[in-house]
């Protein structure tokens, strides 16, 4: 019995939990929605640039009168739009929401964090424009001007400060594995980006050493920025969606720490056969092969978590994208470890094989996982449901099929191209002509993928517009057995 002095009983533990979840998600709304919306914009921009670059490869007279779209500019602009625009912004949005959820605290800096989204957008726009205007630095994966380091550095500093603040205020005794990956990403990326810009644009790394710095950077953007964010997302979303904890938490920790040890050495596998000391390249190959350990660990763990629950793929958009992505992570990593062996690299290097591999990583793994994350997070931030299951299916099947066509076509073309290039009897022009039909298949794949992206943008636009007043009650979708919208309205 409450004493007469207490007039209002404290909320029951369940209610307190639910309120907190609403408050957590609500605190993320401004920032994360800004980042996601920007990411979708850059996805479309990057897709357009991708199609232009792809078509120009087999049909060079396409848009040839517009010098600012020449292949040498369109392709790096595509890279910049996708890496720093789509990938990084979808990644940051997901990173911030995941950390808010994992630490069960509000997202801090409600003015400064959304401002970083604006600054980030302007920086990417500046970078893409600079490339199209002819100011590309010609250093792969980092063609944008070095001045961007200051702007990105500032944004990341704010995001890192937010991450640290949330972590220090965390409620849970346990630091879930995703939190480890996310801290890795947010801590490593600024060091990586800033030091790479310094190495590459000062006398620090000149001549052949510049190439080593270039690929140390580029590979670590994959390994220490995108991969940890992607894996953190998979480790959180698969268990969350199917309602079952990770099969072996021990394995998940092993996977994280071995990734942290091995991944960053792998960069010089991009320079096999190049004018660098053999030991430097061998170090890269060893690091790449050692990656089998974390990759197999993660694959086994995710598979055993999903076993018996694969039927949920029929029901959950998030799960479809995330599981597709997780499987492709395993595939691309296996391929990458093999590709780093000198005997394989002898054939695959400097061919379309490498491009197929790159897209298997950044697209089939990272991008698909990000799609899954956005499908999960956006309704919870916007208190609205995705407006059409049909368009979600279009999105999934076009991108999944498009990626398959892309990879199969260019892998075959690249391997044959490599074999023929190693054969001095084959004239070079014959090899070029051989690749042309496969480049057409890549453009076709690109069209399919772009159709998927347009569907996704349409879906995102619609869920943005359904934003209404703050709604009390659970931010969840309807419970099992209830139609959508039943739980969202009417406050509880």
């Amino acid at each position: 019995m409450a004493s007469t002095a207490e007039t209002i009983p404290p909320p029951a533990p369940e209610e307190r939990e639910r309120l907190t979840r609403i408050q957590i998600d609500r605190s993320c709304r401004q920032t994360v929605v800004w980042y996601y919306a920007s990411a979708v914009f850059w996805l479309l921009t990057g897709s357009a640039l991708a199609l232009i670059a792809s078509i120009k490869m087999h049909t060079p007279e396409f848009l040839a009168d517009w010098e600012w779209l020449t292949f040498g500019r369109a392709r790096p602009a595509h890279l910049a739009a996708m890496i720093y625009g789509w990938g990084s912004m979808a990644g940051v949005g997901t990173l911030l929401w995941l950390q808010a959820r994992l630490t069960r605290t509000r997202l801090p800096f409600p003015t400064l964090l959304p401002a970083t989204a604006v600054i980030w957008n302007l920086t990417v726009a500046f970078g893409v424009a600079a490339i199209l205007a002819g100011y590309s630095t010609s250093i792969e994966w980092i063609e944008i001007p070095p001045a961007t380091a200051v702007l990105f550095g500032f944004c990341i500093a704010v995001i890192l400060a937010a991450s640290i603040r949330m972590f220090r205020q965390r409620e849970s005794k346990h630091t879930y594995v995703s939190q480890w990956y996310l801290f890795g990403a947010i801590f490593w990326f600024p060091l990586l980006y800033v030091s790479a810009q310094i190495f590459l644009h000062t006398p620090a790394a000149a001549g052949a050493v510049k190439a080593a710095a270039n690929w140390w950077f580029a590979h670590n953007v994959l390994g220490l920025w995108f991969t940890p964010i992607g894996l953190a997302t998979v480790y959180y979303l698969i268990p969350k969606v199917i309602g079952r904890p990770v099969h072996s938490y021990h394995l998940s920790l092993l996977g994280f720490w071995t990734l942290a040890i091995f991944y960053n050495w792998a960069g010089t596998h991009h320079l096999i056969g190049g004018p660098l000391p053999a030991w430097l390249i061998t170090v890269g190959i060893v690091g790449s092969v050692m990656m089998f350990v974390p990759v197999v660990t993660v694959a086994v763990n995710h598979h055993l978590t999903m076993v018996g629950h694969f039927h949920y793929l029929k029901h959950s958009p998030t799960l479809r994208f995330v599981v597709y992505g997780a499987m492709c992570y395993t595939a691309v990593s296996f391929q990458g470890s093999l590709q780093s062996l000198r005997s394989v690299n002898e054939i695959s290097h400097f061919t379309h094989y490498t491009i197929a591999h790159a897209h298997l990583g950044v697209y089939a793994f990272f991008t698909m996982v990000m799609f899954g994350a956005i499908y999960y997070v956006a309704p919870r931030l916007l208190n609205a449901e995705w407006h059409s299951a049909g368009w979600i299916r279009v999105h999934f099947w076009s991108t999944a099929a498009g990626m398959a066509v892309y990879w199969l076509g260019l892998t075959w073309a690249g391997w044959e191209q490599g074999r023929m290039m190693n054969d001095p009897r084959v004239p070079f022009l014959d090899i070029v002509k051989f690749t042309v039909p496969w480049l057409w298949s890549r453009s076709a794949a690109g069209v399919l993928m772009t159709i998927g992206h347009l569907s996704f943008a349409w879906l995102f636009w619609n869920i943005l517009r359904q934003r209404g007043a703050y709604l009390p009650g659970p931010t969840l979708l309807a419970r099992k057995g209830e139609p959508a919208g039943a739980a969202a309205g009417g406050g509880e």
């Binding site: 369940e14 939990e17 639910r18 979840r21 959820r101 994992l102 849970s172 005794k173 346990h174 630091t175 879930y176 594995v177 480890w180 801590f187 490593w188 060091l191 030091s195 006398p203 620090a204 000149a206 001549g207 959180y236 268990p239 969350k240 969606v241 199917i242 309602g243 079952r244 904890p245 990770v246 072996s248 938490y249 021990h250 998940s252 920790l253 720490w257 942290a260 040890i261 949920y312 029901h315 959950s316 958009p317 998030t318 799960l319 499908y375 999960y376 449901e385 995705w386 407006h387 059409s388 299951a389 979600i392 659970p474 969840l476 979708l477 099992k480 057995g481 209830e482 139609p483 959508a484």
Partner: protein
Amino acid sequence: MNHGPKSAPRGGVSHPGASCIIAKGNFVAAFYIALWGLAALLGATAIGALVWAIRRGEFEQLREASMSIFDDEEPAGEVTDRFPGKRI
């Protein structure tokens, strides 16, 4: 133009503006110190993080840690995502 060994920049590195860097050898040395220092710092923080985790018992309560993403609102055993308008 004479590009013989005596006139090449010290250290054999050629970069626009290199000629205006006085005492270039010091710069290179400083760079290596900074580079190895950064690498050592990164490695040390990683090891520090690992030690911190072990001492906090993160590697002992694995079951609880794996369950930490569930709560009363979204308990283990409940599916939390589906296509819009559909039931599970």
